[in-house]
């Protein structure tokens, strides 16, 4: 059973621009956003079998909907995010309160060390990957590695359109890696190639990477991803996965998709 933290998009809109996808002139169609979000929830609950924990939305915090950036949860411990941009720093207290309210042991990072949660830290059971440079500070990874006894391979994000690691890399439950190599420099690409056998590397084509094909939620054999990525779907199907494409273009206006809208709690 997989538990995911989500937050309804009641106040979702574009009120500032902190990544290349956001344009305040490109207004969100709120009704459409709500419909798309509910569709995603329905698939996650009914088709994928995930259990959803819903957080209360807060007026004035349009990006609270992207719960992947709440922090990370490992067992009974939660590490809340420390956002790089002031616009999202106001979310920190709400996420932290939610973790405490649910009985998690909350461990906090030093102030001034940016860390944007599961947006920049994901991986397999033994090895995690940490995205840095765009949002998170590489110096948080040795601390997290020490707390959770996991190897964390830092990967520099070199293309600001892929500003979080979860926008260009998605570990799959069978040990494969869905990713877009040009989002990393050659050191990062070499480190990934060294770690993951060629047969397990699933390379997403650029056009679909730009539709955030990698921003997918993988639970067992189910992979929930944004609609419009047929090649990625075929690649997944070939490896025995069951793709669930969902139209999420309202959230793409803000630079987020399926994965950004969820946080794995277990």
């Amino acid at each position: 059973m997989s538990r995911l933290l989500v937050c309804p998009p009641d106040y979702f809109s574009i009120e500032y621009e902190i990544n290349p996808w956001m344009r305040r002139s490109n207004a969100v169609n709120s009704d459409q956003a709500v419909r798309q979000w509910h569709h995603l929830m329905q698939v996650l609950e009914q088709d994928v079998g995930a259990v959803l924990e819903r957080m209360k939305p807060v007026p004035g915090l349009p990006d609270l909907v992207f719960t992947a950036n709440a922090g990370i949860v490992v067992g009974g411990t939660a590490v809340p995010s420390r956002f790089r941009y002031a616009e999202r720093q106001k979310e920190e207290a709400y996420f932290e309160d939610w973790f405490r309210g649910q009985g998690y042991e909350v461990v906090t990072l030093d102030p001034g060390r940016f860390f944007e949660g599961a947006g920049d830290l994901l991986g397999f059971s033994d090895t995690w990957f940490g995205g840095y440079r765009q949002r998170s500070d590489i110096r948080v990874f040795p601390t997290l590695s020490d707390w959770f006894h996991r190897e964390i391979i830092p990967l520099e994000l070199v293309d600001n359109r892929f500003y979080h690691l979860d926008t260009c890399l998605c570990p799959l439950s069978g040990g494969e890696l869905l990713y877009f190599p040009p989002a990393f420099d050659h050191y990062g690409q070499a480190a990934l190639a060294e770690r993951i056998a060629p047969s397990r590397r699933v390379v997403v084509p650029e056009a679909e990477a730009l539709r955030f094909a990698c921003n997918a939620v993988c639970v067992g054999k189910h992979v929930v991803l944004p609609a419009g990525c047929p090649e990625t779907e075929s690649l997944l199907t070939l490896r025995g996965y069951l793709p669930h494409p969902i139209p999420l273009d309202e959230f793409m206006k803000s630079g987020g998709s399926a994965k950004c809208l969820t946080l794995a709690l277990d």
Binding site: T127, I138, S145, P154, L155, E156, Y187, E194
Partner: protein, 414 residues
């Protein structure tokens, strides 16, 4: 010389992620260099690794650019402490625990910045003016009560010598000194340097002057003419010696003997042992070596060449001196100070046939100045080479042969 440096720490899973490789590549690509000073590699996959890296650059600006470029990859500048200072308790006395310098370039951390120590020389203290902030070396005898002197080792860093770019004998200095090595190529390399440095002096480049510290064996063994020629041709610009070298040099001019030995005849001449005393007495009568040369009393030789060419001469006396000649400094500390004052601007030092002056000069020279020590006694070049500088070349050979061969290499026709 690459003087600007900073120590950075890098930790985490820096090996498999190639973060360490990326940081080191970045330093090199930007034109810096690094020393991996301390490397601890995690024993298990989960265990992080740790690297302490000294980053060096040719300027403070480049260093700051490099640090700026590697900082996002987690390379953080190690926090360092300022040096500790204590006031000298009295004139001529360092505070307890004073830091004693080496002959290597040194920096001290004052008010959170690294300050270059001026006038580096071994076995001195470091005087700091925290207000400006500046730092310079100070000999024990010259320290004044209340001077702020560096104590302990905290906040002091010694910059290792960089291998010189020129691929000559100075860049491949072996610490071993042997009388059985062929000298030809070494002398050839020294000659090339002398030509470069003479051009430097003529073009007004700082650090191009050549110093020769020598003993009277140069005259006794027959190196006088070659050295005279080297000074006349402006290959040598500064001379350190005692009382004996000028005395015997001028004795040859006035009496045709050195220490009573007929220079041309090759045997002891009657009452020859008095000649050097009579020479000294004569010069004392005239008042100075310079006056003796200018008035035409002394016409040939090393001292005459020095006067003609305006070479800077420092004569430091010893307790066995006769006379001494006018101009010989008999107070050792004064002599040291005069020698020290002549060091800035020197680009090469030749230490020839004098244990006393070679070691004294060697102690005054920063390691960055290439030096050649020539002596028939292997103990002297060995002593100099043991200072640990790979720019000190030792040659076990007779002074006259060395100077003659060197002069011939440069075009002297004997």
């Amino acid at each position: 010389m690459m003087h600007d440096q900073e120590t950075v720490l890098l930790q985490g899973h820096i090996i498999d992620s190639l973060i360490l490789a990326k940081v080191l590549d970045t330093i090199l690509m930007m034109g810096g260099t690094f020393d991996l000073q301390d490397m601890q590699i995690g024993k298990t996959r989960e265990e992080p690794s740790r690297a302490k890296i000294i980053v060096r650059a040719s300027s403070a600006k480049l260093l700051s650019e490099i640090l700026h470029a590697i900082q996002p990859h987690g390379a953080s500048v190690e926090s360092e402490r300022n040096c500790r200072l204590s006031a000298a308790p009295a004139d001529g006395i360092f505070p307890d625990e004073f830091y004693a310098t080496t002959h290597l370039s040194t920096q001290v951390r004052v008010r959170d910045q690294w300050v270059e120590v001026e006038g580096i020389e071994m076995d001195l203290g470091i005087l700091v003016d925290p207000a400006r902030p500046t730092a310079r070396t100070v000999p024990m005898g010259e320290v004044k009560r209340g001077d702020l002197i560096v104590i302990g080792r905290e906040g002091v860093r010694v910059i290792p010598l960089q291998r010189p770019r020129d691929r000559d004998v100075f860049s491949f200095m072996e610490s071993q000194v042997s009388s059985e090595r062929p000298h030809g190529h070494v002398i050839g390399d020294i000659a090339k340097r002398l030509v470069q440095l003479r051009t430097g002096v003529r073009e007004g480049r700082v650090g191009s002057r050549v110093l020769l510290a020598g003993g009277p064996a140069i005259v006794h063994a027959g190196g006088r003419e070659a050295l005279t020629w080297l000074i006349d041709e402006e290959f040598i610009h500064v001379l350190f010696c005692g009382n004996a070298l000028p005395a015997h040099d001028m004795e040859v001019d006035l009496y045709g003997t050195s220490l009573g030995y007929g220079h041309a005849a090759g045997r002891v001449v009657p009452h020859g042992h008095e000649h050097h005393l009579r020479t000294i007495n004569r010069i004392r009568t005239i008042g100075s070596i310079e006056a003796a040369v200018r008035s035409g009393v002394v016409k040939t030789g090393i001292m005459a060449a020095c006067v003609r060419r305006g070479a800077h001469v420092v004569m430091a006396g010893t307790i066995r001196d006769d006379g001494p000649l006018p101009g010989v400094i008999t107070d050792s500390l004064e002599a040291q100070a005069a020698m020290r004052a002549a060091i800035p601007g020197i680009g090469l030092a030749l230490l020839v046939a004098s244990t006393l002056h070679a070691v004294a000069t060697g102690n005054l020279l920063p390691a960055t100045i290439p030096s050649v020590c020539v002596d028939v006694n292997p103990a002297v070049p060995t002593k100099l080479a043991d200072r640990g500088s790979f720019q000190a070349v030792g040659l076990v050979m007779d002074a006259a042969s060395f100077l003659r061969e060197l002069a011939r290499e440069l075009g002297w026709k004997s």
